[in-house]
């Protein structure tokens, strides 16, 4: 089986030659190719080379397009800062208040260089890998986009104390978001992973998810041209997971290391794919043996789960993670052999 067949079989609940593994190795490609991160996150060729190196080195079952949310904010005018060992971040948001949204020019996904970078990466990766390995594009859910433009504090303030203003903001964001994501599908994304910050139990209440985040997500998902994976954003998601079910385009969920996988499975139902695994932040602090043992424990727990993928929780696997720790994930999966559930 190649990786595409392995993931499709996982989706269909069919037998596998081995369990699929999906560590998030977007950033790690730059380490493998010794590429400065400013170049990596602005030059599509450099990024695609990094992912080719990831594939050659680790043989993961999913390749990741750039996790560079800040670049979306930069397309709106936020100030970007490039760092030495992690994805770019935002130094300063484009605007501070909800009133400034009215005059804000929303970037065109078809022409803005910061956004075209993502599409060009996807085209290059699709041309090289598409029929053999799935390519994931990672973009925050629509309710998290304003945070990249006005900062978390101002956005929280708006959602909490100015619901009409928040709705006005989303009326501008949603059409942009739908075009952006559908452009990614057209360029070659196999699926889009959406970290759910504004649905996380660590960040917002069930009421906010129910009355604000979920309706927006439903509205957007109905307009998308490809499958979506909802992601824990680096914190336990189980307490709100039920509020993220029942959407037509959602094929899978990525839960946090601290979430109970059996409970997560019970909430999402038997047919959706469930990704679970060790936290990216801790992966680099463990020994390879600890990683392999940790992964084996997770795989043992999900031994009879036909729709399970061994992933990582949190954002990108950290720069300083030893390569043997990443190899340990595959070793753990291989040690279980065929999956005939």
């Amino acid at each position: 089986m190649n990786s595409m067949e392995r993931l499709q079989a996982t989706l269909a609940g069919k037998p596998l030659d081995r369990r699929a593994i999906a560590p998030v190795l977007g950033l790690y490609g730059a380490r493998l190719t010794n590429c400065p991160l400013e170049r990596y996150y602005t030059d599509p060729v450099a990024y695609a080379l990094g992912q080719a190196a990831v594939r050659e080195t680790f043989q993961p079952d999913v390749l990741c397009a750039p996790l560079a949310f800040a670049s979306i904010g930069a397309a709106f005018g936020s100030e970007l800062v490039f760092l030495d060992t992690e994805a770019p971040n935002l130094r300063r948001p484009a605007i501070q208040t909800v009133e400034e949204w009215d005059a804000l020019v929303v970037p065109d996904p078809d022409t803005h260089p910061r956004l075209l970078y993502f599409r060009d990466v996807l085209r290059l990766m699709a041309a090289e890998h598409k029929n053999e390995i799935p390519i994931a594009m990672v973009v925050p859910i629509p309710a998290d986009i304003p945070e990249l433009v006005m900062g978390l504090e101002s956005w929280l303030e708006t959602v909490l104390f100015d619901p009409a203003g928040a709705r006005r903001v989303m009326d501008k964001v949603i059409p942009f978001y739908v075009r952006l994501i559908n452009g990614f599908f057209a360029a070659g994304a196999t699926f889009v992973v959406m970290p759910c910050g504004f649905a996380s139990p660590a960040i917002v209440t069930r009421e906010i998810v129910t009355n604000f985040t979920r309706p927006i997500l439903a509205q957007v998902l109905a307009q998308l041209c490809g499958p979506v994976v909802l992601h824990n954003v680096g914190a336990p998601i189980l307490a709100h997971l039920d509020l993220l079910t029942g959407f037509p385009s959602v094929a899978a969920y990525i839960v946090d290391q601290r979430d109970d996988l059996a409970q997560a499975r019970a909430v999402i139902g038997l047919d959706s794919v469930l990704f679970g695994g060790l936290d990216c932040a801790n992966l680099g602090r463990m020994t390879a043996t600890e990683v392999e043992d940790g992964c084996r424990a997770i795989l043992e727990e999900r031994r009879h789960d036909a729709h399970f993928v061994l992933g990582t929780s949190g954002p990108d696997v950290a720069w300083n993670t030893p390569p043997e720790n990443i190899h340990a994930m595959r070793k753990a999966a291989e040690s279980f052999g065929r999956i005939d559930v």
Partner: protein, 223 residues
């Protein structure tokens, strides 16, 4: 219902206006000077305990608590300006996000809750070089530096603050408090980056700073 429980209820609902109305009504009867010590501080402690033990509070609700706290501090400050009353502040202390870290919200909430506990806080903002933390602490006589980082990569930059404190012979005299989302995920990280202490959340920082300040005083007295 007890005022503290009523206030928690308002904050649970994200009702900043209702929370302020509740506190204003209490203060009109008992005075704003008693409001902090008798209502707001104990309520923040209860929220912090509940946040840690049951996870029933979200960042959004704690943000509402921070905004209500800011509102109350503003009203008290206005009254102190006109009456010259009030206790002398604790501190001073220095806080900031470490070099290459731009996640301001947690640090800003820490500043708000520290001020509510009477600390004089010098907030250096985001992306602060290690030397600047120590320069500012020496300049104003701070015994505690609080450094925030959200990601593992930036958390490791905090080691430079530890090294700067030690290099200048200020070990123990200046205490290093560390915190941020990554410290909740990674046990032992606070010690790994050279922190003298950490708190599980923004509401626990005032207690941590009390303890570290005492440690600094004891260290100096014993030296």
């Amino acid at each position: 219902m007890d005022i503290k429980q009523s206030l928690i209820g308002r904050i649970h609902l994200g009702d900043r206006v209702g929370a302020n109305a509740l506190l204003d009504a209490w203060a009109s009867e008992h005075g704003y000077e008693r409001l902090l010590a008798e209502v707001l501080d104990p309520t923040l402690i209860l929220i912090g305990e509940e946040w840690r033990s049951s996870g029933t509070f979200t960042l959004a609700q704690v943000y509402v608590a921070a905004k209500v706290t800011e509102d109350v501090l503003g009203k008290i400050a206005d009254r102190r300006k006109s009456t010259s009353e009030g206790q002398p502040p604790k501190g001073p202390v220095v806080i900031g996000n470490i070099e290459e870290d731009f996640h301001a919200l947690g640090r800003r909430m820490v500043g708000t809750f520290l001020r509510a506990e009477g600390w004089l806080v010098h907030d250096l903002g985001n992306d602060v070089p290690a030397a600047l933390f120590v320069d500012k602490a020496q300049e104003i006589g701070a015994r505690v530096i609080g450094v925030s980082a959200m990601m593992m990569t930036t958390a490791r930059n905090i080691k430079r603050v530890r090294e700067e404190i030690d290099r200048r012979g200020l070990t123990g005299r200046i205490q290093l408090a560390v915190g941020g989302a990554v410290f909740r995920v990674c046990p032992g990280l606070a010690e790994e980056v050279g922190g003298d202490g950490t708190a599980p959340d923004a509401l626990g920082v005032a207690g941590l700073f009390d303890r570290l300040w005492e440690q600094s005083v004891r260290k100096e007295a014993g030296a």
